[in-house]
Structures are given as C-alpha cells and as structure tokens.
Symmetry: C2
Subunit: 337 residues, 2 copies
C-alpha cells in the first residue's frame, strides 16, 4: 500500500491536486509507456526507465498541464477561450487542449518562430498572433487579446493547475515501476519538476527527485543552491525548451521537495540524444534528453545507491519535437538520383 505523507503539500501544490488532475485529463492525454533499453542500461550501470513523454499527445508532457488547466475552467470562463504566449511545446499543448474542449485558443508567437511550429499550432486550430521576439512584446500582445476577448491566460509553468497536470507523469511512473531509487527530471520554468516532486514526496518520500539543467541555463540550480531565486542572463544551450527562468511558485516547491540539482554539458545532451535515437530508436528533442544526459555525465555513483544489483532510475524523456527536415533533405538527393 502507498503511504501518504501528510506533512507535505500544506498550502502549496498537493497530491490531491495531482490526483484530481489525473482524473480530469485521463481521457484526453496518453498514459505514456516506460521503455527500457539494454544498451542504455549497460552504459549507465542502472535500470534506466525512460518515461516517454515524447510519445505524449503533441509530442511533449505539456499536453498534461494545459489540459488540466483548460478542463478546470468553468463553462462560462471557457467560452471566452484561452490565451498564452509561447514559441514551443506549450503553444501546441494549449491549442490541442482548447480544441478538445471545443473553445478558441489565442496563441502569441514571436515573429521569428520556425514555420514548422506555427503550422503545428494551426494544425490544432490555434489562432496565432505574431509579435516582436521580446518578452515585453509577447506579454503586451497577450494582454491586448485578454482585454478584447476576456480569454483565460494559461501560463506555461507558474500556475497550480498546470503543475498538477505535469505531476501526473510522476503518478504514472510510480504505478509503472516498483522500487524506484531516483527520478531525474529536466528543469526550465519548473512546472514539470514541481508536479513530479510533489507526487513523489507525498507517496514515496524515499525516492530521490533530481532536477537536471543545461550548464548554460542553470538558474534553477543556482537558485536551489543559494536559496535565492535567480535568473538566466543569457541562456546558451541547444536545449531550446529549457531556456526559461524558474518561476517563483516553482522555486518554493523546488526548495522543499527536490533532493538535488545537477547541470550537464552540451556534449552530454547530444550524447544522450544519440543513445535515445540509435539504441532506443526513439525521436527526442534536445531538452527531452537532458535527464538522461545527467545520468550519463554524473553517473550512478552520484545517486549513492548501495546495492545489491543496479538501481531503478526513472528518467523523464520530456518531449520529441525536433525539426528533422535537415535530415530528410540529406536523404532526398538519394531518392532523386
């Protein structure tokens, strides 16, 4: 039987929020598989349990949080639609979740977003407003749409309903894998790690929850280490989904419920991508490979596991939205020859 620790979750995101989210989004999103690959296990000297959110609807865990937030709206609120600004997976997730509730989604995207991402949002029926590629312009465009439509703002991470939705990844993983020793989670704004850590610390406090960040966008690690919320001045990483600053709400949860924060080099991210593509035969975006990169770079030794055998390590593969067109263009000359 699972033991519920009642000390955790008073006054902030709680396990009850996550249980409710799980019920709410059950018919809208996938329960994603856990994949294990012998070659990766041997490389890491661990049972590496890849939690495949790259196989989630819209290709990323973001579908969970957006769906929970949008399904939580009252009918009256929902009618007016939802709005967000994002150039990435959250934009698609909001458009997807709004469509599944049959309400309008207004998505503010910077003018320089790749056309493939715009098409994906349009594919889910999202109504795009382009703006200058600055934070100020994005927020201004959002505010204007809200004023005009009274649409509800769906924040990508600093909102309880969104965090609760992401936390369902942790619930599922605990149900899928017995005897977890640790769970590694990529960190950006902190929505995913907040949700997962809340679920795990409530139900299995002995399981270590470790956040992993690119060294070139390590604001959450610095914040967690110093106890003061810090930002990235100029994030430099191939992991385009992990460049946002840690949210304030997320920072509080991180401090209380995350056991360690690790950073990884860019080379480790690419190495982890290679293993996932070539051995697990799955498509992963750079951000989605960061947790595995952590295990590969720091090694199972940092998990302080004291045998026997290998530890069971959950590794969240957060998304698979990477532009593969350059690769297909390399293939095309062969086809035309």
């Amino acid at each position: 039987m699972l033991e519920v620790s009642l000390e955790v979750g008073v006054g902030m995101l709680s396990i009850e929020d996550i249980w409710e989210a799980a019920e709410r989004i059950d018919s809208v999103v996938h329960a994603t598989p856990v994949v294990q690959c012998e070659a990766i296990d041997d490389r890491c000297q661990a049972n590496v349990l890849l939690k495949c959110e790259n196989l989630q609807k819209v290709g990323a865990f973001k579908a969970r949080g957006a769906s929970n937030a949008i399904l939580s709206l009252s009918d009256k609120q929902a009618q007016r639609g939802v709005v967000t600004h994002s150039s990435g997976n959250h934009a698609q997730a909001v458009a997807f979740a709004a469509r599944s509730r049959g309400i309008p989604a207004y998505i503010v995207m910077p003018r320089d977003s790749p056309s493939v991402k715009r098409r994906a949002v349009e594919g889910y029926g999202g109504q795009i407003t382009l703006c200058e590629p600055t934070q100020a312009a994005r927020e201004k465009a959002c505010a204007e749409i809200q004023k005009r439509t009274s649409a509800a703002l769906i924040h990508p991470y600093a909102e309880e309903r969104v965090m609760a939705g992401q936390g369902t990844v942790g619930l599922e993983l605990m149900a899928q894998v017995e005897d977890l020793h640790a769970v590694l989670v990529p960190v950006s704004g902190g929505g995913l790690v907040s949700g997962i850590a809340t679920a795990i610390k409530a139900l299995r406090p002995e399981v270590a929850v470790i956040g992993v960040e690119p060294a070139g966008a390590d604001d959450a690690t610095r914040s967690w280490t110093t106890g003061e919320l810090q930002g990235n001045t100029k994030p430099q990483t191939i992991a385009d989904g992990l460049r946002a600053n840690l949210g304030e709400l997320n920072f509080e949860i991180l401090q209380e419920r995350v056991d360690d924060m690790w950073t990884v080099k860019e080379e480790s991210i690419v190495e982890a991508m290679r293993w996932i593509f070539q051995r697990a035969k799955m498509v992963v975006e750079p951000s989605g490979a960061v947790a595995l990169a952590g295990l590969m770079e720091h090694g199972v030794v940092r998990l302080q596991f004291e045998g026997p055998g290998r530890p069971n390590v959950g590794v969240v593969v957060s998304g698979g939205n990477i532009d593969l067109e350059p690769f297909f263009e390399l293939l095309l000359p062969k086809v035309q020859a």
Copy 2:
C-alpha cells in the same frame, strides 16, 4: 477460438513450425509493441497498427529468424559455430543469436560496408571476414570458412527455420490486434512475408496479406504476377534492406499465401519515414517504412474494405537501423558555438 485451416502448410512451412519457433525464441527476443498514432490514422483513413520491429533486438525482425535457426542446431553442430554473408541486419542478428547461445559467429561482409555496421557486428562478438563486394566473392568466402570450421550456414531468408522465426511477428500481431482486416509487409528475399503469411493464412485466412516492394526492386511483384520467379537486374531504391532477390522457397509460399503485391515510389518511402519519425516519434530505416508507404500511396480503397468505420490494418515496421550521424553532425556546430 482460432480455427486452424489444415489445407495450408502441407509440405512447406507450417503453422506448427512457427509455434515451435515462438516457444524457442521467447526468452531471447522481444515481443514488440503495436503502436497507433492518431495523425497517421487520419492520413490513411484506417486504424494503422504499427508492429514495431524497429524496437526488436538488433533493431530489426532479423533477430527472430536468426535466433530460431541457431537455437534449432544440435549441440554438436552449434559448437562449430555459424557463418553467413550479409552487409545488413542479418549479419547483426546472426552475431547476436550466436552470442546468446555462446557459440562463434563468422560473418562475411563486403569490404565497402559502412564501418558503423561492422562495429555493430563486432559489438555482438561476431568475427568479420572482409571480401570483395560481389555475390561470388561473398559465397566463396563463406564456403572457405565452412570448409575450415564446419560452421553451419544461416541463410538470411531461404531457409525454413529462418522463415518460421520471422513468422512469429504474425502470431504476435494476431494476438495483439483483434479483427484485423489486412497486414502489409515489406518484401525483399521473402523471409518475413513467407513467415507472416503462413501464420495468418493458417489461423485467420480471411485477413489479407499484402507484400510491398520498392518499384525499383520489384522482382517479387513481377514473380507473383507472372507466376515465374524473376530477379532484379539492377535494384534502385533508398530501401537498402530490400535489394535482394526473392528466394525460390519464398516464391512458392508467396504464390500460395500472399493475396496481393504492391509497389511504391521512392517519394512514398520518404513520406512514410517522415510520418513515422515526426508523428509516431520513432526511428525507422527506409526499408522499415515501405509497408506504410504502400498504404499511403495506394490508399485504403485498394483494401476493398466495406465499412462500417475504418479497417484495422497491421503495418510491419521491419527495422530501425539507419545511420543518423549526418543528422548529429548538423547539430554539433550548434553545440560547439
């Protein structure tokens, strides 16, 4: 209950051979998942059930046939090892299966095989002999090794034990999917389609079994259509796994048990790869995408399904061994910048 049709399988590969193979290889290979992807379903107007042999050991269905053949050897035969010539997935499969039985594998590979494929064979402990890249040189090198070692030759497709092993794909698919309307299978030498067609026609003769080939290597289609075994003079296709000629044994089975043969254009193969990579988020090699290419190019209309709803179509994704290094090299400049 499943009904066993006794007319089928007298004097050639039988369902009993495949049942025995399934038992023999059970602990050595994976029972691969069936994956369904909404976007692909909508594109094809069918429930497309991707049978994921790209997630098989060694990254291709070949692990099944090689394992069955090698586990069928007597201890005395096995001690002397096994030999084959192949530049592709069969080479890895034989090395893998020999290792799992703890016996030597001698693999003849043409001098011009990519180093990535050689390394994979060596990774499974195979002993490589390089030869000139001609059929004659390959067979000669094999014969010399057989003379020296008395190793057993494991043919890639024209051998009953190999076909029986590949047939377990069909058994699994029938157990995983109820009410199949048709199954699409890529065809090269014919080992995979022989095994699958034998399993399906014995247990569910009403399910259509359709072989799919690149138009640039359409010997099996021409053989099936004319009733006379024909070869490829100069196969031209990106699907490097589908350039071999149909085997004689395989031709007999094809004539008796395969309902239709389709060919596909090169562009359709790349289109199918795009859908599998970008929407199903899986890595697939060109040959592995040929069955889906068939459904995309010919359409569900050619399956003569008479509603209601959409037909359940099994599509064998035969392998995922594609060299992704060019793609990672495109990513590296970003990392070093």
